[in-house]
Structures are given as C-alpha cells and as structure tokens.
Amino acid sequence: MIITKALTKRYGAVEAVRAVDLDVREGDRYGLLGPNGSGKTTLVRMLLGLVYATSGEIEVMGRRMPRHAHEVLQQIGALIEQPAAYPHMSARANLALFDAAGPHGLAGRRSRRQRIDEVLEQVGLAGVGRRPVKAYSLGMRQRLGLAAALIRKPRLLILDEPGNGLDPRGIADLRELIIGLNETGVTVFLSSHLLAEVEQLCTRVGVLDSGRLVLQEDLAALCAPTGRILLDTPDADRVCAMLDGQVEQRDGQRLLIRHADPVELNSRLVGAGLRVQAIGPHRRTLEEIVLSVTGTGSDHIGGTSEPRERGGNTASERETQRDRG
C-alpha cells in the first residue's frame, strides 16, 4: 500500500528523514511511533505530496508519488497535524466545500448532503453540524477533520496524531471508528507519540528515531512470548533453589524463568508442593521494545545512545530534534 525506498528529506544541513524504507501492507493498521521531532510529520507530508523528498522513492497504492498525486490522493483520506476548517462556516458547509474542491465532487446536492450526514454521524457530530466551526472545541474540530478525511470513502487513511485534543471518550470512539473502517477494508496509517494508543489500535508498528526507521514489525510478532515465564509465588526462595540457573531475574515474589512451557512448569512446581499465585508466558510490552530501539525517552533532546553511522554528527541531530519539534 505504501512503500518507500531510502526516503530522505534534508532541510539545509538538517536531515529530518533519513533513508526510510517504509512498508505498509494492504489491510494493515500501521502505527508510526516516534518522539516529537523524530520526523513523523515530515514523512507523512512526503507521502501526501506536500513536501518534496530530497532523495528516495515513494510508492502509494502501486503508483509513484508525487508524480501520480492526482490519482493517488483521490483514494486517500488524510488528517495532518491539527484539523483545519473555515471558522465562519458550519461543519456541513466546510465538508461541502472540501468535497467540491477536489476532482469529481459528489455529484448532486442530495448525494452530497446524504454523505455529509453519514460522516457527521460516523464521527459523532450529527447534532452540531450546522454550528459555525469557530464555536467548536478542539475535540470537535478533530472529529470534523476526521469527517473531512472520510467523506470520499478512502481506501487508505493517513492520520497524523489523530488522538490530539480528544478526551478519553473521544479516543475510545476514534479507536472504534478506525477498527470498524479497517474491517471494511480501509488500510490505516497513523502516526503517534502515544505508545498506548498504537498498542491498542495497530497491527503493525514502525518506530522513527531522529529521522531513521529503527524498527518495523507486526505487533503480534513483537509481543510474542519471549520463551521465558513470569511466575508469582510466595515460595520464591524454594523455587529459586529448585530451578537453579534457570531464574534470570528476581523481584520479590516475582521471578523471570527461562522455560518454554508454563503449563508443564506449573504442574512441576505444584507437584513439589510449591504454591503458585500466578504464572504465564513473558511478553515484552511495546514500551520496552520502543525504548530498547530508540534508547532515549520521548521529548529527550539530543539523544546520545542511539546508533550512529558516522561519528561527530551529534550537533546536527540535536538541531534536527529542536527544529522539527
């Protein structure tokens, strides 16, 4: 659906995006993670033909961008950073204008009005569509932005930080909406700096760090069992004695044991008269995975522990993060 090869964007001496090979497959719910200033927005804008790449290739739905932008963009719904609308007009008037602006707008007033009703309902703005947008809260504007992205029934949704400005209820609604659309065949590509959002929503994850794609993998594979078992037991000392050498970590009652089969281990422990509070396969959380590949936390300026191709470019990296943030 989206394939980039060695995609690079340089602003003067600053490399905002460096040699990114993105691979988003049809039907994915792809989450692009990265701290603020890691190049997510620049990458998204390049996919949409707003920012021109310095080098590298972009292919969206099998066609080169930005050369075929006119055909490709018609099948994409996009939310780019903040939503935007003409403030003195109502949500309905805004949606009608945006639809009419593109090629082959929904023919006829009736079908357009119908589609506007549908998308307003979908994003939960059905009751307030006639109010001028300047009276909207941030969350309502975000919903309107989503409605504008959906109005043409896109095959691909590109959402840059879609959870911005939404309250917990709004985020839950958004998740439900995105999963529902994905089930009808819409591929979703979203960027976020919120790990939890991506973990709950996405099937595939990419991690951007200082403009480099440092990880790209299916979430299921990332969070697969690690071949270790997490055991919670009041008899931790005796378990350690019994499984000498297999216990990798101990934190009070909780043990991390190198062992593949929790069921087998459980019966062994119980058979030996040891009490078990909880037992299960160990999985890494998305947070642990992301921190292990990026090295630095969110919003950390001037990371030092990241992998480097050549020495002595720390200053430019700091600049990257500051400028793009």
């Binding site: 804008r45 935007a84 009419a100």
Partner: protein, 298 residues
C-alpha cells in the same frame, strides 16, 4: 475549484464589509456636496469632482478617482495577500492540496476569485455613485460638458496633490473643455475606465499573490504589496527618478481619466495596460514557480 473559491469569497464577511466601506466614501462626499453645493475648483481635489454639480452622471468617474489611490489598492492587496498565506495560516491549504487540488489549479482559482472581487468593487462603486450622483446632484442632462477633469495622467502627479508645478498638464486638460459628451459616450468611457482600473488592480493583486506564496503571513503579504505601491508613488513624483518612472506600477494608474477627454487620449492608456500586463505576467509567473515547487509545511 473555481466555484469553491467564489463561494468562499461570497460567504466571507470581509468581502461585504470592504465593499460597503468603499462605496460609502463617495456616498458621503456626495451628501456634503449636495448640501453645500461646494466643489473643489477645477484642477484641485479628486479628478472630476469640480464638474459633478453640472451633471450627476459624471459622479461615477469622480467616485472612482476618490477610491483609486488608497481604498482600492488596500482592499485588493488584503484579499490577494490573504489568498495563499491565509489558507496556510488556518491550515486549510494542506487539506485543499491533498483533496487533491493541483497547485496550479489552486493559484488560477485564487486569481479568478481576486479578479471577481476587484470587478465587483469597481462596478459597485460605479453603480452606487451613479445612483447617488443622479439622485443627490441632479439628473443627467443630455450632452454633458466636460470642463475640467482635474489633474490627469499627463503630469506625473497623483490625484489630490496640489496642482502647482503641473501647469503644462493642467493646460492640456482645460484645452478640452466645452466638448459635449452624449450619455452613451459617457457610459462607454466609464466601462473603459472600469476595465483600466481593474487591470491596474490586477497588477497590485499579482504582487500580493506572489508575496502570499512566499510568506505564511497574510498581513505581511498585503503590507508588502502596499509598500511597493507607496514606494512607486514616491518615485513617480521624484524628478530625479525620471529614468525608471515609465516602468513603475503606479505611473499610469490615472491614465483612465484620458477616457473622458475628447478625443480619447490613448497613448497613456495603452502604456498603462501594457505595463500592468507585464507586472501581472511576471509576478504571477514568479508566484507559480515558487508555489508549485515549494514544500508545504504550514
């Protein structure tokens, strides 16, 4: 897309407020003249104003002369300067572009919208001025006699400036006095003047539109274009700058007054059209070249 831009223009309160204000100035002036029966002596004040008491039908020309130096360029520069930069500031630019609207297409639609606005204002001023002129200053008589049209385009001086030092020009103007113009002729010439003024404003619009693609500040683009006009106005009156004067955007701005001479004095009108065409082509070309290749990060 063109329809969309026109809808945006029509639904924007600014359009109607600026239009009302621009039409209000000649209206207020007409009330004062009607009440006091005082007009500036020939050769002083706005062009044509000294003649309007003879015929209200001449008032549209006087009204255009009033709004041309300041009101019209400001309104035009604001609308054109806002066209791309304003969309960038509100964030709607990126959403229009991914709709998708081609960048060239968007620029063309903006230009058509600006042109419509300029024509709307100029025609509205003409129509309201004709109505107020006939109602307040007396009905039109057949065979209007154009006595003096004030300082014209021949001297390099702007309307409203004292007439001292432009005696040769003033002489040329008064030599046309006494030639009767039929109402039909007057209407034709007013249409010519409207076209000329609209084209002059397009020159302003092209500069503002170009600046609008460079900056994301609508105010900056509008003020930049106005600054260029003010500089041009200053240089036009400066004898030391005579070498470049024929190429300044405001040099032939008042040449439309020559439509009201008998016979029509075409030389400066032609030059005015030509110089504005050059400004329009150059700045629109620059706007297009910049906008089509620019990273949209707003």
């Amino acid at each position: 897309m063109i329809g969309v831009e026109l809808v945006k223009l029509v639904r924007r309160p600014r359009t109607w407020i600026s239009l009302t204000l621009t039409c209000a100035l000649p209206f207020v002036v007409a009330i004062f003249i009607a009440v006091t029966h005082l007009t500036p002596p020939p050769g002083q004040g706005s062009a044509f104003l000294s003649a309007v008491l003879q015929s209200g039908a001449l008032y549209p020309a006087a009204a255009l002369a009033m709004v041309l130096p300041v009101f019209l360029p400001i309104a035009t520069a604001v609308v054109a300067g806002d066209s791309i930069a304003g969309e960038a500031t509100t964030g709607t630019l990126r959403y229009l572009l991914v709709r998708p609207v081609g960048r060239t297409r968007l620029l063309v639609a903006k230009l058509i919208s600006i042109t419509s606005y300029v024509l709307l204002v100029v025609v509205a001023v003409t129509v309201t001025a004709y109505a107020t002129g006939v109602l307040l200053l007396g009905p039109s008589r057949a065979g209007v006699v154009v006595h003096s049209v004030g300082p014209g385009s021949v001297p390099s001086s702007s309307v409203g400036a004292p007439t001292a030092g432009v005696s040769p020009g003033a002489g040329a103007v008064t030599s046309l006095s006494g030639t009767p113009l039929s109402l039909l002729q007057l209407a034709e010439r007013t249409v010519g003047a409207i076209a000329f003024i609209a084209v002059s404003m397009l020159g302003v619009a092209a500069i503002a539109l170009f600046l609008s693609t460079i900056t994301s500040s609508a105010l900056g683009a509008a003020l930049g274009a106005l600054a260029a006009l003010v500089a041009s106005e200053i240089l036009v009156t400066l004898n030391a700058a005579a070498v470049i004067q024929p190429y300044l955007p405001t040099r032939y701005w008042l040449a439309w007054i020559d439509f009201f001479r008998e016979p029509i004095f075409w030389r400066n009108i032609d030059r005015g059209f030509a110089i504005q065409a050059v400004y329009v082509v150059v700045f629109l070309g620059a706007a297009w070249a910049n906008f089509a290749t620019k990273d949209v990060t707003a």
